[in-house]
Symmetry: C2
Subunit: 216 residues, 2 copies
Amino acid sequence: MPPVITAFEKSPDRGRGQARDMRVRWAFEEVGQPYEVRLVSFADMKEPAHRALHPFGQIPTYEEDGLALFESGAIVLHIAERHDGLLPGDAMARARAITWMFAALSTLEPPILDLTYAKIVERAEPWYAQRLPIVEDRIRVRLNELSLRLGDAEWLDGDFSAGDLMMVTVVRRLNGSGLLEDYPRLLAYVARGEARPAFQRAFDDQLAVFTAASAG
Amino acid sequence: MPPVITAFEKSPDRGRGQARDMRVRWAFEEVGQPYEVRLVSFADMKEPAHRALHPFGQIPTYEEDGLALFESGAIVLHIAERHDGLLPGDAMARARAITWMFAALSTLEPPILDLTYAKIVERAEPWYAQRLPIVEDRIRVRLNELSLRLGDAEWLDGDFSAGDLMMVTVVRRLNGSGLLEDYPRLLAYVARGEARPAFQRAFDDQLAVFTAASAG
């Protein structure tokens, strides 16, 4: 039995692959391992059955032979540790790749998610327009630092790794925001990630879910 | 040569152990390994020499025999993987402990840091008082979910692990905020973490740095 992950029945990103199941799908495709998907609705996610898998009522989750995990970072790391293709064999390079996974999730994603919250939850608040530049500047600081470190390299540390996978999925949450356009190296970095055949397969699979839900 | 980490020369938390070096110090103490600390000022952190170690100009960093890491999550995981005491031997329990590390950093810490930003950066903004309840409610949702999952257990999943270490350090950022008092199980959970001899040694060491800097 292949592992089973959960994903949105109808993703709020309308199939743009910005939901967190995309990271796990991409990881499975990079290592060439099969997986199955169980779709959940927003109502399902708050039910006790789903909470037993994910205490914070989110997607994705991961189930395999008595093991249940949540958090996209933990799931991607678990896949990367068990199959070749996402972590270097050298112990030091491996530790650095894992560092980039944490950097994507702890340093880049929080200000990017703050922008999403602002745009969705606080759009009608009287302070929305005034506060937006503060939120965007916080993101720009991190993008600038990331761009400087990346420089003219193809990936963050040697070959493509789980660190790049996580960073690309985090940074591409800004696709369409207009913020990335000031950082051509990051635009090219995200484009390199998106051009990988494994990304494409994962992207098409999550898009097919949204398309089917919309047609239904 | 023991590993060298960086910490604030004069921590903005005034020795309350809420800076991120505390996580790494605590991890070293739990596994009984020596380490050295290089103190950096806020000015140092933005210089090229520190940026070479930490692209985002923060602390802590970790250096050992040609290996340089950043991100407290990555450093604690690196220590936990190399020494007994922070990760279970069983592969499934190990994956679940790592899941809690990611949950602490990706799900709990971002809204908690948002409160810190609001209180420091946005305190003088006209929307501060109006927006604060939104920020606090976002934290309460996560605290409630965490408390429900913890239940009457001592730690999040079996024995104390790197997942608990990370979660305790994240949740105790709320010490003094008044938010934790509605969740007695979490108060007790944080207190259990803080009562560990390894925590106490790490806490005393970081406090001594602040005390010395203040006296100087």
